[in-house]
Symmetry: C2
Subunit: 359 residues, 2 copies
DNA sequence: AGCGAAATTTGAATCGATCCAACAAAAATG
DNA sequence: CATTTTTGTTGGATCGATTCAAATTTCGCT
């Protein structure tokens, strides 16, 4: 009697059921996790009692400790959680990750925190078997934090050169060269670059110094690709303005203001992300400039939105979904090895690029 | 010596550190979870040894069992995981949920499975403090499954009338009436309804019988709202075709084919979701029909895409983000009470509706 | 009835931490 | 110097399950 009333207070445990049914925990456990090895009669009795006592089934918290595997991968970023649902690039990437997880029945845990300490705590306490890291702003800190967990993880976008971390990215140099060559062949000679960050919390025109000491080699490689190709066309890359943004509205617009405030206005913009490219199209149109009539733009990434803009965006497309799939699989069937994969890019010519205007 | 070598084999536990440092496991635990109460000297020694032995920090799996709280909410649906990143409605909802979670530092675990058994397992084994359920197709099963976990949960979209489950939804009747009145006032007299499901796995024209025995009362209410208002304008609702779709491309197009294959073609379409409405606009344009010249359309939901279509969609907007926020908060600060909230809708007139064509 | 094989059941050990009452040592007080 | 207070440390209990070797029961067969 008393025990029944006491039971009310806190959730029923498997042990309570076992006691009530007069079987050992072992058997009670088997009733739920391996019913086939329990005698039918016992099984039904235990199940009935569990039902009657309002047992919620074996608590995953307990099981987890024993099993050791969570069967979920964590996807982490330093952006707020909503980034995963807002950002076009992230969304396509998540679709790929989702696919791989769906296929194996694994779950996805979203981990994030703009705030420093919380990020650390969230990474430390995430219940996952491994991490996929979106290495954007603050990527190196994210990697350091994650490394501490000593769980498998993959960095997306090959954020930095550390050869000891698994990563998947694209051939940035090749992609950037494609973009630059395309514009150069269209006759453009005055360029500007809307750049991603070379290090955290930078913004503004990038000096050669900044470029040389880049933390994010992805950014550096793209720039190198642009410049290599431009040089081949006899362009003095030292005169090409490179504006470092935070890949969002505000700093990108600031960059455009700064670039177009200079004496030599560009006729072609090389943007290291579609996001910036799209913002640039908007900005230029608002300024009464024609795209691609006055200014041509090439993006980088290949997000779906690029196909919908007016004009549609010419861009270097990454196999985003495939990268996501592979990243997830790297965690799901992790074998202890460090893998670094470089995927190819695809050049998509759409409407945002055209011949250089006759000056 | 031997112990160091043995340690290599499996991950280091807090107990190993304690032993190596010559302190009790209680103290070792404190070093990590409440460092301020440990004498500085001891603290540093233990930390040094932990570092040296390659300890990954207190394992969340262990902590979890003790703490009881996961600090994460599960978001579940019967759709594949990618639904969360693809579907516009889901994305806006997730943004709201993200916001609430970010504010309290809680995590989000995505749970899904198209497959029956896996869904059950995924729900049973999700490490979360509660669930937010996307009750679309298969919503009742999802609720039943979740109820078993005996964790707090909220159903989105007021899928069904069961008063014992917490839910947040909108005033479907009021919203639907707004839509119908608008069209009727524009002079339309021949209507068709693109309907969401009344029960699982239905598709095709809905008979009064189907409507009466609806599992999804949200759908039923919207239809009731439409019909109530149409009746007031003297329209015989018995003659209005109601086509039940699965809220995706294929069945919606099938519905349009079926509707426009009838003798009396509608001049106005009431769609129970923006998704269907947008598909309808596409379909009609492809058929050479002008929207809203020949056919007017009103959607339901108020997803961002609706503002971008050509013509932009007139719709009944739900406060989607706010619903998401509230749902998450209901779980986060759960007090044991069953809450059912009904939010108001906003009528947004855009370009997809116009005066009825002169017949 | 007797016996070995097969099918079930048991209960202790384990997973990896946190909590807390009790104790010990050091510091403050009279 | 004796006594209280404060500050740190200890180790057992607990969270809720699963696992596995050993013990027990059941069953088929002679």
């Amino acid at each position: 009697m008393a025990s029944l009333l006491e039971g009310q207070a806190r959730p029923i445990r498997l042990a309570d059921i076992a006691k009530a049914a007069g079987v050992s925990h072992g058997t009670a456990s088997n009733v739920f996790s391996r019913p086939e090895i329990v005698r039918a009669e016992v099984r039904e009795r235990v199940k009935a009692i569990a039902e009657q006592m309002g047992y919620a089934g074996p608590d995953p918290k307990g099981r987890l400790l024993r099993a050791g595997k969570v069967n979920a991968i964590g996807v982490a970023t330093t952006e707020p959680l909503s980034y995963f649902f807002d950002d076009p690039f992230a969304r396509v990437m998540m679709a790929g990750i989702s696919e791989a997880c769906d296929a194996t029945g694994a779950g996805i845990a979203l981990v994030s925190a703009a705030n420093q300490e919380k990020l650390a705590w969230n990474i430390q306490s995430a219940l996952v078997d491994g991490f996929v890291l979106f290495c954007i702003e603050g990527g190196s800190r994210l990697v350091d934090l994650t490394r501490e967990r000593k769980l498998p993880f993959v960095a997306l976008e090959l954020g930095f050169q550390d050869e000891t971390v698994s990563a998947i990215g694209v051939d940035n140099v090749a992609g950037a060269r494609l973009a630059a060559r395309h514009l150069a062949e269209l006759g453009h000679r005055r360029f500007a670059v809307l750049s991603l960050g070379f290090a955290d919390d930078h913004t503004g025109f990038a000096t050669p110094e900044v470029v040389r000491s880049a933390v994010y080699t992805g950014t550096r490689d793209r720039l190198a690709g642009y410049f290599e190709e431009l040089s081949r066309f006899g362009i003095d890359t030292a005169t090409v303005p490179v504006y470092e943004t935070e890949n969002e509205e505000k700093s990108t617009r600031a960059g455009l203001e700064a670039i177009f405030a200079r004496d030599e206005r560009p006729t072609a913009i090389l943007a290291m992300s579609d996001r910036m490219a799209l913002i640039a199209i908007d900005w230029l149109k608002a300024r009464g400039l024609n795209v691609p009539g006055d200014v041509s733009i090439v993006g980088f990434d290949g997000v779906p939105d690029g196909a919908l803009s007016t004009p549609p965006l010419t861009t270097i497309a990454q196999p985003i979904t495939e990268i996501g799939r592979r990243a997830a699989r790297m965690i799901l069937d992790h074998d202890g090895a460090v893998r670094r994969e470089t995927m190819g890019v695809e050049f998509i010519v759409r409407g945002s690029t055209g011949p250089a205007p006759k000056a």
